[in-house]
């Protein structure tokens, strides 16, 4: 059983985001990147499946700033192979990245066959598409998203996946492998790996590099960003000022006025 996890780095929004001069993109020069949260969950889910079924786990990402950290961390957590695709332009859109990833998965020697491809359901910068369904289409595999649990039946090559619906309802699906699943949350929160193990991985693990394959022409629809700016929301709360006693008193008046007492 071979599981493939696709990772992507996104800007870390803990820091303030800066807009580049030109006003249509983020200034990524001094911007710290972090692994997309749902990709972290996808990795965790893959590790859980590896532990349960002894599967082989490969982690693949497009080369980007700080992606090495994420790949070494994945290796320290237990990934068998970590690989990045080098040679593409910086700043691929989601759709372009999906194309690049799919081509490499299909044609890089030693990657196929893959039984299950896991990636995060959605990243904070997936403006022009989602990785999971696009990769599924390119590789002619079934796709399901918003997954929060997976059970594999290795003998029959199927997976039982739990998908989240509104209002806390979940759906259980039978899926024929190979398939692509967009992970919302792993069955357990992403595990902690001590820094010492990551540093050891940096010394002993090699990140394999796959050269990006010539992009087939066509199908590169442009994303026509006209403007990008800090989000100043239209509506804003009426702010109550003062010490706790003052604001509490004012708030009680408001609640009383609304008949909430």
């Amino acid at each position: 059983m071979h599981i493939l996890v696709l990772l992507k780095m996104v800007p870390d929004v803990v820091e303030d985001l800066e807009i580049a001069s030109g006003g249509t993109a983020l200034d990524l020069d001094c911007q710290r990147m972090i692994l997309s949260e749902s990709d972290d969950h996808a990795l965790e889910q893959a590790l859980l499946l590896k532990e349960r079924h002894g599967a082989k786990l490969t982690v693949l990402a497009v080369d980007a700033a700080e992606v090495d950290d994420a790949l070494f961390t994945a290796a320290a957590k237990g990934a068998d192979r970590v690989m990045k695709i080098v040679g593409s332009d910086a700043g691929l859109t989601t759709r372009q990245a999906a194309r690049v990833l799919s081509q490499t998965i299909a044609e890089e020697p030693g990657l196929m066959p893959v039984d299950l491809i896991l990636t995060g359901v959605q990243a904070i910068d997936d403006l022009d598409g989602l990785i999971a369904p696009l990769v599924a289409d390119e590789l002619h595999m079934p796709y399901l998203g918003i997954i929060t649990g997976i059970a594999l039946d290795v003998s029959s090559d199927t997976a039982r996946a739990i998908k989240e619906y509104p209002s806390g309802v979940r759906g259980e699906f039978q899926i024929q492998l190979p398939a692509v699943l967009g992970i919302q949350a792993a069955e357990k929160p992403p595990r902690y790996v001590p820094v010492a193990k990551i540093r050891a991985a940096m010394k002993t693990v090699k990140i394999e590099c796959a050269q990006v394959l010539t992009l087939a022409d066509g199908g590169w629809p442009a994303v026509n960003v006209l403007e990008m700016k800090q989000n100043e929301p239209a509506g804003h709360a009426e702010m109550l000022e003062g010490a706790p006693a003052q604001v509490s008193a004012r708030l009680c008046e408001i609640l009383a006025g609304r008949g909430l007492f």
Binding site: L144, I162, Q184, P244, L251, L255
Partner: protein, 327 residues
């Protein structure tokens, strides 16, 4: 459908979703500005009775097929692509929800047209569509020119009030047939209902919600006291449930419950879109947060910048005193 503004209507378990009405409301606005007709596209199996709810549209296209009984992105996308084979609409609006996520992406990829996600607004400028997208966890707004044939737009929940998009009215319905392959690759086995929590949060008039800002599980008691004083229940955002401080049945947001109480008190909740999705419909939203730039203040009616742990006990005792006076 050429030149129409189309909205993909989600039906789930026999009902049209809130997000559909919100998207229809936005679609209506856009269509009116463009002077184009608004068409709702409903897929399903034996779901034709639902078309009446789509009355805000000028027309409905209903696609019936056994494989469309449940919304599966690849199957729905295949159906939509067939519909658009000969008649390309101007724009296709798809709600970005747990139900429909992926449909817009696939339609765009298969038709070779651009897709724009995260839309919370669509403006019309010189006859062209401009999407206003909220990205990066709500911190950045991008204006994206929507071109393409159709322009496929993924709409955030809450873009418009649902009531504006919900009119029960008979409109012309076209039954469209599609040919869908059953690869038998994905099958729904069953639904799993959520565990009955001790409290049905959707029936509460007052909810006191806690987020990371309460800092410690031990401070939950303070929130519970306020909830008790106000006659309501405690709930939480996803990080609090992830930490195990509250059970899953108390989670509000995209991955949890959607509630519309009379009063929603958000304590130490930053206001990430996933949480806001679950509570934006509340009548009165009061937020307390130590960060004056927290996005929650954009959805709240009243805001208090301060330490939750300082404000909470004072507020609770005042509410209790007030209650005692009134009764």
């Amino acid at each position: 459908m050429t030149g129409n503004v189309c909205v993909f209507a989600e039906q789930w378990r026999g009902q049209i979703s809130e997000a559909t009405y919100e998207t229809l409301a936005l679609g209506r606005e856009v269509a009116d500005k463009l002077g184009a007709p608004l068409t709702a596209i409903l897929t399903g199996c034996n779901s034709r009775n639902l078309v009446r709810s789509l009355g805000v549209a000028d027309s409905v296209v209903y696609v019936d097929h056994p494989l469309l009984a449940e919304i599966l992105p690849q199957t729905c996308a295949a159906a939509l692509v067939q519909l658009f084979l000969n008649t390309r609409p101007l724009a296709l609006l798809v709600p970005l929800t747990n139900i429909s996520l992926g449909i817009g992406t696939l339609v765009g990829a298969r038709l070779g047209v651009p897709v724009i996600n995260f839309c919370k607004d669509i403006q019309v400028a010189g006859g062209r569509l401009e999407a206003r997208c909220v990205m990066y966890g709500g911190k950045i707004e991008a204006t994206v020119g929507a071109t393409g044939d159709p322009a496929v737009l993924g709409i955030w929940p809450g873009a418009r009030p649902a009531e504006k998009g919900h009119i029960e009215r008979a409109v012309p319905v076209t039954d469209a047939a599609v040919v869908l392959e059953d690869a038998e690759a994905i099958r729904l086995s069953k639904y799993i209902e959520p565990e009955a929590g001790d409290v049905d949060l959707t029936k509460q008039d007052v909810l006191v919600a806690v987020g990371r800002g309460i800092q410690d599980r031990g401070n939950l008691g303070l929130a519970e006291e306020l909830a008790k004083a106000l006659g309501g229940a405690v709930c939480g955002s996803r990080p609090v449930i992830d930490q195990g401080w509250l059970p899953l049945s108390r989670q509000i947001g995209k991955s949890g419950l959607t509630v519309r109480p009379k009063l929603y008190v958000a304590l130490g909740i930053s206001g990430a879109p996933e949480h806001v999705e679950g509570m934006k419909g509340a009548d009165l939203i009061v937020a307390v947060n130590s960060d004056p730039h927290a996005p929650i203040f954009n959805v709240a009616h009243y805001g208090i910048v301060g330490d939750v742990l300082d404000t909470l006990p004072v507020l609770t005792s005042m509410v209790e005193a007030r209650r005692a006076h009134v009764t």
